[in-house]
Structure formats: structure tokens, C-alpha cells
Symmetry: C2
Amino acid sequence: MESRRFLFSVLLLVGLRCGAASRSVIRLYDDQSQKFLRLDDNLYCESWRFSVETNDAGKWESIPSRCQRFVEDYMTGGRYLSDSTIVADYALEFARGVQIAADGRDAWVFDIDETLLSNLPYYESHGFGSEEFNENLFDAWVDSAEAPALLASAALYKELQQQGFKIFLLTGRSEHQRNATETNLKMAGFSNWEKLILRSSADQGKHAVIYKSEKRLELTKEGYRLHGNSGDQWSDLWGFAEAERSFKLPNPMYYIA
Amino acid sequence: MESRRFLFSVLLLVGLRCGAASRSVIRLYDDQSQKFLRLDDNLYCESWRFSVETNDAGKWESIPSRCQRFVEDYMTGGRYLSDSTIVADYALEFARGVQIAADGRDAWVFDIDETLLSNLPYYESHGFGSEEFNENLFDAWVDSAEAPALLASAALYKELQQQGFKIFLLTGRSEHQRNATETNLKMAGFSNWEKLILRSSADQGKHAVIYKSEKRLELTKEGYRLHGNSGDQWSDLWGFAEAERSFKLPNPMYYIA
């Protein structure tokens, strides 16, 4: 019985297509009808999301147009909240196993955008990542300091502080956005971080993964033990001077190299 | 209008619970009803899958019992095939951009289980990862050499060979399983790999991430350029001597450290 079900799925063969009109080169092929199968939008967009969240997709510019509605539903329909809550739950489970020393050097690193603060209200007005990124408009949104807290991270943040972790905020935002960022963080309920690290003029133009690794390395040289690191981009987490555990939050709206 | 939808979702507050009866410590809390929300199984299992595929969950032993049906549906209902096909597609897109040199040193590394060969027929008979792993039963399955090809990877494998990549197979299987593994690979349509690397007696007991990194390092010392690496476990991909690009295939059934 079990093998029969499996044999059925083998009727879907993978075919190769060499036309240059579409990006896709490996597609599902139905051996019986001898036709390539077009995945329905939901199945395709689920798989696209798997590929971007695991970094299999590599660098990407904007969400596929056929996935705009999918991303909107994901972000606003409860899945985003559920995913980020379970990530925070795993982070806290790990954190509770950390022995906090008396020297005040046990640390946790948080990214800001889509990690502590949610820019969902901005992206709701700009196609959920399907529109080309407009730096001027986004900077104006940052200056407004209206981004709400990402709720799961806010709970994690408070619990980590109670346990004695020093909190470092490491963001790709620029030094000139310090005031707006501090105002926004406080309005959203965050306080008592150890240090807020923004890009200085010397950091401009660096890839995020290099800039963030360099800053983490500085912290380790100051004697901090980086137990955990929470971020929505792999460039928040990978590189060198990585934390003992990294926690990748979901973000199907945009990619930062 | 947009902000109204957002305000509605903020009514779901994240609460902290200190009881030790359940593992979960950060959960969704409904401020209006003043009750913790129990995620329905599907929403929970989708989020659990996000956490295991991004490695946020860290080491895990078996799938949550409430997710057995979810994993079965995922593995047999088309999503697994769709996800792995799109991963292969991104891998091939990257591979086509690689300039193949005349020295025969452009290489791609493949894991075997749940990467080239699918053990789904075995796991269909053993709870899709909800049963405790039984090494004797699984070894007997390996010896039977009946695992079918993972279709998306088979298409990628052939295309990479045509482009001139040297293929290295790097598996956690042991040297005494070489004959069964070679037989199975050939029966499933794979051929002409450069080298099949299995665990020698000296490799027994090493964490997969160390064993695999060491073997990749040996390849780079032999002059191979590791452009791509395909595997279903992060321990296939991370460590040192990492490939230029890593491609994480889905596997919600089991975890290898």
C-alpha cells in the first residue's frame, strides 16, 4: 500500500527545458500527459519562501509578482506572528541553559529592522516587497519613528534582560538615524540596551555581513561572550565572530546581502 | 485603512508563562479574552518546520507527535517535490554562471541520503520521523539498495556533469556500506561520480559537520574548487572549507548534528 502511493508520485518526472524565456530550468514534468506542470501559485510561493528563508535563492531583488498576495497573507494572516513566536521560544529555551557569569560579559545581539521593530506598516503601503525599494521613502518612514515592536522579539528581549544578558543592538541603519532609532525603540517599549551600533561613515558601502561581523568581533575583543544573535537576514548572522547560536527570523519581503 | 488591519493583529500579545509542564515559554496571548492561544496544529507545524529548516530549533530528536500527519502530507502531497525542485533550480542557475576551467578542478559536492537518494519508502513505514531512529532497521534498508532517486537532484546531477563539474559524493554512511551504496546509486540512475567518500573507521564518532568539513578541506588541498554543495542537513553545508554556495534541501523528518 505504501509503495503504491510512492510509485504514483514518481510519475511526476523532473524535466529540463533550455528555453531562455523563463528563468526556471528544472521543472516538474508529467510523464503520462507529457507536459510540464505549472505549479499553482500557492505551491510555487511556498517553495519560493523555503528557498529565500534557507538562503538557497541567494541574492534576490523583489518578491515574484505572482507571490505578492501570498506574502501579504503570510505577513498579515497570523503565520508571520506564529513563525516569529516559535523562533523566539527556541531562542529563550537556549538562553535559559546559559550560565550567566558575574562579570557582566554574557551578551545577546539583536538586529533592529524586522527583528525588534516591524516595518510592516510601511511595506503594507508598498506592495509587501514587490515594489522596488525606495530609499527616500523608507528613510522618511524611519525618521517618523513609528515602527511597532515585533511582539515575539519584545518578549524575548525583556526575558533575556531579566536573566542578566547584556543586549547589543547591531543595525544596518546609519549613524545619522540614531536619534530617530532610539526614539522609535523607546516608543516601542525597548530600553536599557548596552550599546546601539549603527553604520559610521567608515562602514558605508560595506556588505552587511562584513560590517556586522567586524562589529561582533570588536565585542568579543572587549570580552563579551556572544551567546545568541537574532536577525531576519542571514547577513545578520553569518560571517565571522558568529554567536554560539543564531536565530533566523522570517522575512519574505526583502533581502540584504 | 492599512493601519487598522495592523492594529487588529496587535491585539494578539505575546505573553510569558513560567509553568514547567510544557516546553513552550513564549506563546501568543489574546489581550481581549485574556487567554493564551493554542495554535491550531497546521499553523504550529508550519512554524515548527520553519524553525527546523532554518536551524533555529537546533538539535532535535523526533518530530512533534502533533505534526506527524503534517509531515506525512508535506512529504507525500507534492510540497516536498516542489520545494526540492525549486532548490535544484536555484542551484542550476548558479552553476550556469560558473566558468568551467580546463584543469578539471571545478567541483560540486552532494550528500546522499535525502539529497540524491530518497529514504521516503523507509520513513513511510516508520512514522515519517515520529518514531525513534532504529539503526538496525535503517541499516537493513540501506543494504537493500532500494532507495529511489530524489528526482530534482537527479536532474541537477546530470546537468552539472554535462557542464563539466566533477561530482563528489560525501556521505555519513560507513565504509562497510560502500557496495550497497554504489549499487543503489547506480540502480537509481547516478553514474560517473569522481569519488564516493564514506566514513572510515577513523571518522566514526565525529560530528557530521567536522567529518564533512575535513573531507571538503582535503578536496580543496587537492586543488578542487568547491563551487556548490547540496545537502539536506546544515551539517552537510556548514563548518569550514565551505563551498562557494550551499543549497539546503528540505528535510522535516530527522536531524543530524
